[in-house]
Symmetry: C2
Subunit: 374 residues, 2 copies
């Protein structure tokens, strides 16, 4: 079990600052509206000749100039690298675009990278920072709800391999995470819903009160009520920070953050990356993992119904694709990073607010697949 801080009150006027503890690699998460364009947000970062903003065309068009302006106060050169958008491009050729540019521009090993965008930009930029000249500093500037509440915090970086998601990467912590809530105003509704999947995740695995809070506020979250969004980001980051500080390299407890992800990654890989958004696959995967938990006798069937209703209200899918039948599902899930010696392990809910990683009898997994696949 991870001990969590008590929930802070929602902040929409003043930025709030959380700390994430990794000894000499500790860092802050700054949350607030408009923080991205405030030069003061960036002043404690390492000095360097050069800052490089990594983004995609859409996000760079919206926020690139503001970030560039704020960074110009601290760095003599501020370059921007635009990557192709989407999970399908979270691969080696895209990663190499960053290396090509850094080397063409003569960027040295003090260079600071800024990941401006969603989870794809954050994961790929983080891995670029981990590997360029064996490691340069980087900063997460997440502009999607999913990235703000999940992927930008905790230092997991990666690219995909055709045989599996996030198979090649590093645990590599950023120096700072800046969550500008104003960037969520321009987020497409489908992306907002995908981010809500990861918000919904934190209640069942770690905080029963927050689960009930999400049930009460899901409509407000979908309507982008600023106070609700601020609280959701703040509380999600608090929980994630507490979990990953307890287990940086996922030896153990950190695996609970993968609730829904074993089924979810199979959906993403089985349909081809980008067909479903990551958050959509996770939502469906969480309902399936809840069903599995109920089949194990850990939670009542009513919990599965509550999870399903909550995800549906958040605009998320709760029925799974068939793929090529249960064998393809099982093959894909055997490649999950939590698998050991060919045995698939699932994050199950033991009671609302508490999760665990378990090997599950294959008959039960097949029952869940039969119940959810079209």
């Amino acid at each position: 079990m991870v001990s969590l801080p008590s929930s802070a009150s929602a902040t929409i006027d003043a930025p709030s600052r959380l700390s994430i503890e990794f000894g000499d690699r500790s860092y802050d998460i700054l949350i607030g509206r408009g923080v991205l364009s405030d030069a003061a947000a960036w002043q404690a970062l390492p000095r360097a000749e050069c800052a490089v903003i990594v983004s995609n065309a859409v996000v760079a068009g919206l926020y690139g100039a503001a970030l560039q302006g704020a960074l110009a106060a601290h760095y003599r050169r501020v370059l921007t690298v635009e990557l192709p958008d989407g999970e399908a491009h979270k691969d080696w050729p895209t990663l190499n675009l960053i290396f090509d540019r850094l080397l063409a521009e003569g960027c040295d090993r003090k260079t600071v990278l800024f990941a401006l965008g969603g989870g794809v930009v954050g994961d790929i930029t983080g891995f670029a920072a981990a590997a360029y000249m064996r490691g340069v500093p980087f900063v997460q500037v997440p502009t999607t709800l999913l990235a703000q509440v999940d992927s930008s915090v905790g230092g997991k970086t990666a690219i995909n391999h055709p045989r599996g998601k996030n198979m090649i990467g590093a645990f590599y912590q950023p120096r700072l995470v800046v969550c500008d809530l104003a960037t969520l105003d321009t987020l497409p509704a489908r992306e907002l819903s995908a981010g809500l999947a990861e918000v919904i995740k934190y209640g069942p695995i770690a905080d029963a009160d927050f689960f009930e809070w999400t049930e009460r506020h899901v409509d407000g979250l979908c309507a982008r009520d600023p106070a609700a969004i601020a609280h959701a980001v703040q509380r999600s980051c608090e929980i994630k920070a507490a979990v990953v500080a307890a287990d940086e390299r996922e030896a153990d407890v950190r695996a609970i953050l993968n609730f829904g992800h074993t089924f979810g990654h199979a959906i993403e890989a089985g349909l081809g990356y980008g067909e479903w958004l990551h958050g959509e696959a996770v939502a469906c995967g969480m309902v399936m993992a809840s069903d599995l938990s109920a089949r194990l006798g850990l939670v009542p069937r009513t919990f599965v119904d509550r999870m399903s209703a909550l995800c549906e209200r958040a605009g998320l899918p709760v029925r799974a694709p068939r793929l090529d039948g249960p064998e393809q599902w099982l093959d894909l899930m055997r490649l999950d990073k939590k698998a050991q010696g060919g045995e698939i392990r699932f994050v199950v809910i033991e009671q609302i607010g508490r999760a665990a990683l378990r090997a599950v009898p294959q008959t039960l997994v097949r029952e869940t697949l039969a119940a959810f696949c079209e």
Copy 2:
């Protein structure tokens, strides 16, 4: 300055064991004849379903079966991945061969990788281990002199980029290094000489007595005298271990291990990887860096002559290629990882046994280039 242990006596009969101190990532270097095929050498490694030997066709043909046999005592499955040989293949497509195989075989994140070969196999396997599922354990089993005395120790892993050597990689420590001196019996003479370049390096940067020892024993080393080879490997590993333990991520003192490498990397990149062996380029680069040190007034001209004579006796080149003239040299060296803000920095010898990293006036660098380039 790094404090060094006093030189142990040469061991040719019983294996010796050095420790390299990185806190909870400390590990041993085991040096001896025939240790590779001794199952006892491997028994303290992490347990796993699967061990994967990464090698090339030549080395796997010579030592693959012996290692496989020794590992079979500890792992249920022992796979071998053969990579194409040579520095020209230290790139992404080759690295990806390892990932493809690990995923095709369903290797989980407990899998232990064994790098059986020279510096190319060690660097690429180490980076594969650093990145596969965000990090799996790995072991160095160096079979060249260069890898035994230098590249297998200290956790530098990398692949090359067309614009520069070792530009993409990680600091990632192995769990164990096993130097089987018997593998050097089959090493081609040119590769033995290349390894001697890195042996010769340790004297000028850290140990004046060892410099004189290499001058006295260079003929014995070229003749593969077992006692001389054993002492050279042992002392080189001791010095390297002391330097990298003091500065794992090359913030500072570790850079002295790059003596000769700024010029050397320019030769390798300028001629195309693989044209000169790494050790050959380093030898020539060390003589050039010694010349630069003399031009700075740090060491007498006689030291440059001694370095040049020693390298020549070891069968190593001491005249540099022209490339496309001094501008190409300078362009290539500006991409060196030690450069900062466009300023090239060189490891210079302050006195025999002591080195430092310094920015050097470009006029002096041009004088050295003019003196050495055909």
